[in-house]
Amino acid sequence: MGIRSVAVYSEADAGLPFVTEADEAVLIGPAAPAASYLNAGAIIAAARETGAQAIHPGYGFLAENAEFAASVQAAGLIWVGPSPESMTSMGDKINARNLMERAGVPVSAGTREPVADLDAALAAARQIGYPVMIKASAGGGGIGMSAAADPGQLAAGFETARTRAERFFGNPAILLERYVERARHVEVQILGLPGGEVVALGERDCSVQRRHQKVAEETPSPGVSPQLRAEMLAAAVQAGQAVAYLGAGTVEFLVDVRTQEFVFLEMNTRLQVEHPVTELVTGIDLVEQQFLVAAGEPITFDPATLTPAGHAIELRVYAEDPKRFLPSPGLIERWTEPAGPGVRVDAGYAAGNRVTPSYDPLLAKLCVYGADRGQALERAVAAVAGFEITGLKTNLPFHAELLASAEFRSGDYDTSLVSRLRP
């Protein structure tokens, strides 16, 4: 696009490929996130020093922080993302739920205001009916989330959720929702255009999860019929319109496997880790569209004629042991990526890099495309076998097992798939 890039990095990441790949790079602080990647002042100062005109927040740290977005705009810079107002309305899960309910988007039975204490939680759960899901209203990444089948489990889960919500998000507000026992996590990619139009670019199935965090994603979802897809895409557009959404965003839904009903889960007001699968089946570069929208320029495709084709799978390669999924930081000795038709690797590391305990365990995204799901699976199996990382433990052996499992291969799976593979 002819745009020069400036990367910001912490001391822990000084040797990583993104630092050298950018046209310029600025050190913004030590490893601790609060001192570097969450340090809004240091990031805006780096933009000023280098003469950057815009800030793209990526998909971690401050990417969904409305206050940061407002500071970026107040500094006279372009924020590559939705308005701070859209981010605020969707950032709080309770508020988002209420807003979606009013906009006509299906939501599950749940609390419409923060649950103040355990007595209120028990009373709310009686009304909703067990099992219930306990969630941090300001939360994300599955932190503090748990299901409760009875008042005893609710008491334990409620306390844990409150402590974690306070610690990780600085906000102890908790909500309860009806827990769907056999569910698929299916999300819709949307793009809000400067004229106010919101378009949907298809769905992604993210039901392969461990600790409520995604491990593998695919599109199209093997569990969504054409009619259900049409309804979900329409609901996602409604959701985006309700908050005057601009740029790339994702509306997450839960699909009840038994009833085929779907409910709104949350909206991510940013680019998602798993966006490559959408790019592979649409041929659209989502990041390019983000920049064009932010610049007020026309996008590169005609939404009216958009037809996704083929099948794409993303496997998240984590630095963790493949049995218990415990973190495995360390020095990467060898790093050999697979290549071939339909294979795309988005990697953050290379041989000689040290993976520190400071951040997420995500090392790379191994993405494959095939004309159909069968071909995509076949290519994924070969690509996993061809990916060599030594020096630390990775979950590549888990991906090999996942791809060989009858349940994943059948396409008829739900969010409990990983716990069935690892009882």
Binding site: G141, R211, A319, E320, L326, P327, S328, P329, G330, T356, P357, S358, Y359, D360, P361
Partner: protein
Amino acid sequence: MAEVRAEMVANVWKVVAAEGESVADGDTLVILESMKMEIPVLAEDSGTLVRLAVAEGDVVQEGDLIAVIE
């Protein structure tokens, strides 16, 4: 005597037990944090916690001594 060692590189987020205390097999001694995950370190034996080798904020390497139970 049982030595409790770190399974991975991590930051010591919370020290739950104190030196001199009696602990039971399975009790949480300290909570480590690595890659945004909390990892409780448990007593592998019952007895007295004669040594606690880490403090909150420390960084431990794989194999580092965390505690000794007698």
